[in-house]
Symmetry: D2
């Protein structure tokens, strides 16, 4: 079978992970990535033998590695481009590079929804995205909401959701941003996360508030979900266990915090110590009347990586959702049906 | 008028603040405090001329200051004792010291409700507590909930509240406790805060979840309050402005975080840079249907100090709630009716 | 006696503290401060009744407080201006405003040394600065080094100093800057602190390295000071106890960290909980051969405030160093000769 | 060749890493590990198929995995035991279990030096440790000092070292310990790190001070090393590049902090994102007279893992230092001669 030739625009937090993931797909080939600034990341790409292309105003000359050409050169060699440029460059890149080259593109969730024809979460609306030219993978937070709420919605029907997002203040490598010692609310109501969920789960009513805290590891969501039918805790645990890319974690196994989830991810051998699965604490699942309450943790750097891989297959319409997700999960070490063991 | 003679058991975070506050009351006299370990706190008490009494196993000999006697000696000289011992010592102290001495006592919210005959928040149930012998001032978080929800309940009637408490991981001076870099959910549903509110607002249904974060400054609550009548944002702002010991803060004045609230408290001259008022962000007040949403910040070290002062007057039944709160507020620099200016 | 009329340019971390300090001097009068952005700080100035002047492009209209005029108007009414503008605005302000108005000015240590004719630390070189028109108070870190090393130098003669500055990553109110979880070395050798010390102690050889950490409270210096004569620990303790604006703190009193120093400052009643004194830990003073080792903590927000006050008197040549420092210390609650008690 | 049969006592931060490393050695076989508490770590061991043995008072019954026997049973099946129990259990374990079983043992650096006959750093004193029964691998900090100072000492001769250790406050998974917002000096002079270095480099004079900060990632050392011959920066860079298990990192490649080193380790594919090499910043290497100054970062969780592997071969005297280090490095992905590229 001819492999899908993939290019990646941008080699930051998401770009480098998508690159690694593409290289693990049997049906894909990584043709190249673009670099701009000189830093350890692009040196790592070079060290792994990934061809490096450039964008205007790059600073990659004189550092001892071969540059393969420009973004335009890269676009001539690929079937699809994954835009991992910092927001809001994706929209600009679409107009400047991808549309002139008639190139299919996948964008990230930091872009506004109108960057693509559709927004994407594999287990929610893969079919709707098949064959589309411009697909936006929703953000890490929205992906987390979509995975668990999508499953709840299928089972019970959701009337209304209220959620608080406790967001990490910066990524682990980011030494510039704070806060060092504060809780910083997002002073707009609702925060943008709620409306964004409707791009993949259009009939779920949701209202979100958000705050940033002095942590770099994961986002945490506290969710109050009013269902149309009465849920039970036991059923909810079973639903989350069976939902793809969702993992039930256990206080009883001393997984009490985002720090311990990150350690678990390292112990279980996930590359980079990433945790691509949305983690729901078993002991914090509760029911009050028709309301289901739960807490989930989102690894902002990695949960959308598998979504990008599936979005490639959707855009090129090479297989159905189940086949794609199965391939992606197997190649990336993600269990097929959530976590069965503690 | 004869002054109320007050003793304080324990000279930690709350004890030292209550001592300062008592010394500012025209109708009270601080007779003494108890110390146990030698540290800068008890040295500060000594430096301020506060008589120091001891409890068994104290380590205060040989540090160059006069010890006035034991806790039993102190109890002979006072009209009331404020128990600020670390939880759960209060209950033990009641049985061991206060009851044998037939002494009225005020306890802190870290104790279980049954330490006292009643739990107390001045603006909610002062009258109920008049003349009682053993009164428990509720915790900093419960006090914060009681002040704002009490006002909302009076205006609209509350059907049901869902709240998430984002808690500081440790007090500012506490170098032993973490987390340094994690979000740590309280893995029990509901957290204890909800039930505790019912000790002062018995007819408010509330369900709370809680998490600890890497910050030392304040707790933050995100509150979703379903009312019996439809609220408006404008009305809610007015209610909070007029509620005693509640302050509306403004993103528009760059008060965007708990750190800036603490700086504001310093700039406005509150002693120690404390913020005894519950702070509600104007820009984060919202209404969806009958639901009122808001965010509030609680200074864990100081919001209950004024409550302790009022509880003294309630226990000794020397005046009504309004008189007591007015005296307390004036002496401590707290505005009578929330914050009028930005 | 006619009071010295003082204006302040800039109302941030230092400006607001200098304003408070000026208002406490019997021989000074605060004529006004300049504001630029609308925020809680300038509202606090307004609330305290401080006249507010403006600089170009200010955003203070329409917020309900009276503006007294421009910086040029302010300069007409004062004897001296304290420039507390963010670096490196001081130099620009000198050329643009102060020199055309023939106005004496005090600058802050974030400016390069050439902003003034001299750099200033009261106990090191007050005399040299008497009558000068443009005086730069050195930075918080340099002030800390100057106070303790100046005293050591007087006693033993210093051959060479190696110091590491562990710097707080951001001020307590600053929610934008990190790092949240990292140690960030200053990757230049030496860091700028060493050379800056020579502006006030020209014959002390010093080499400094610096790192930023995830804390907002204080800087900490680890100092290895090779002396010309052999020091002893006991003598060093006595020197630090007798050095103005230096405080010996005690692990034995549980003052084990910067957090506990900040709490001590609150307990002792310093306004805002500031600690204007340089704190040296008794238990970390050591001697190896001719080398004196010690650790000191610097409150970045406040140690230079008293220096600004003294610099005003030096610039206007109204009294000698000892008289000025005594007035300043008394008015600000700083002990005259370091801390005598634990 | 018959493989060395290895048992591991304790499965925490170090034990689990040593287990992974043993499994990667061609000449070793992991026979089993001991567990005590039920948590995600021991579940991970189970998941990987590692046989689990127990110690008294364990809590591993009833969690669905097979227990192979007691520590005594494990000791019957192995050639050597690696003690990774929390300090100071190693000494107790030696007396209670290893000596009665006449078992060779490797201990960790948290133990006091007298737990073993010798202390060990592969590149410093492997030969001295060949055939010894009880070997102590020095701590992460001492290992870091030994690697770089050993190389400097060989080249120039060291007269005296002054070092400040800026220590992470807790490990990444540890949510219990602080400080959240403080710098906490070790209030003893010297800190224990200096004396400990002399257990592997006995003729290096060193004096250390230490502080803890609010970070979980790495320790950082600032080192002032007075040499017997005059060093140059260029030579020092070359020495560090050629020293095993030392890596020169570059501000020029944006590796500016411990956070970026940890990200680099992930990008380069080190398991768990560990960084077993001691990292020295090129841009912070300086020379003043005979003094060499540099900054290094130590990954507390992993730098001693390769040392434990080498210590096994030394204890059983199966090969020389160079052969062992080469095998260990190759199996663990550590470059043979530091980092050659940026």
């Amino acid at each position: 079978m001819k492999k899908i030739r993939v290019g990646i625009m941008g080699f930051g937090t998401i770009g480098k992970r998508v690159a690694d993931a593409v290289m693990k797909q049997e049906d894909m080939e990584l043709i190249g990535v673009t670099g701009r600034s000189h830093n350890w990341r692009i040196r790592s790409a070079h060290r792994k033998g990934i061809p490096i292309y450039t964008i205007p105003d790059h600073q990659l000359d004189g550092h001892g590695f071969k540059l393969e050409g420009t973004i335009q050169d890269l676009l001539k060699k690929v079937d699809i481009i994954i835009d991992c440029a910092p927001k809001p460059k994706g929209k600009e890149n679409r107009a400047k590079y991808y549309e002139p080259a008639k190139m299919k593109a996948i964008y990230q969730g930091g872009e506004k929804p109108d960057v693509g024809e559709v927004s994407f979460t594999a287990q929610c609306n893969y079919d709707e995205c098949r064959g589309k030219d411009h697909i936006r993978v929703v953000s890490c937070n929205t992906t987390g909401l979509a995975r668990t709420l999508g499953a709840i919605h299928t089972k019970y029907g959701i009337k209304e959701v209220y959620a608080t997002m406790i967001r990490r203040g910066a990524d682990p490598w980011d030494i510039r941003h704070g806060p060092i010692n504060a809780v910083v609310p997002v002073l707009e109501l609702p925060s943008h996360h709620g409306p964004d969920l409707k791009t993949v789960l259009p009939d779920v009513e949701i209202f979100t508030t958000a705050l940033s805290v002095s942590s770099t590891l994961m986002h945490v969501h506290t969710i109050t979900c009013e269902c149309k039918k009465t849920p039970t805790v036991e059923e909810a645990v079973e639903i989350f266990k069976k939902t793809p890319r969702v993992r039930v974690v256990y206080n009883e196994s001393l997984v009490r915090s985002t720090a311990e989830i990150m350690e678990l991810a390292k112990d279980w051998g996930y590359p980079r110590g990433d945790m691509p699965e949305i983690c729901v604490w078993k002991e914090a699942i509760g029911v009050v009347g028709n309301k289901l309450l739960y807490l989930q943790a989102i690894h902002q750097e990695s949960d959308v990586v598998c979504e990008n891989i599936d979005a490639i297959r959707a855009a090129l319409d090479v297989c159905d959702a189940e086949t794609s997700m199965q391939k992606t999960n197997e190649s990336l070490g993600i269990p097929q049906h959530g976590m069965v063991e503690k």
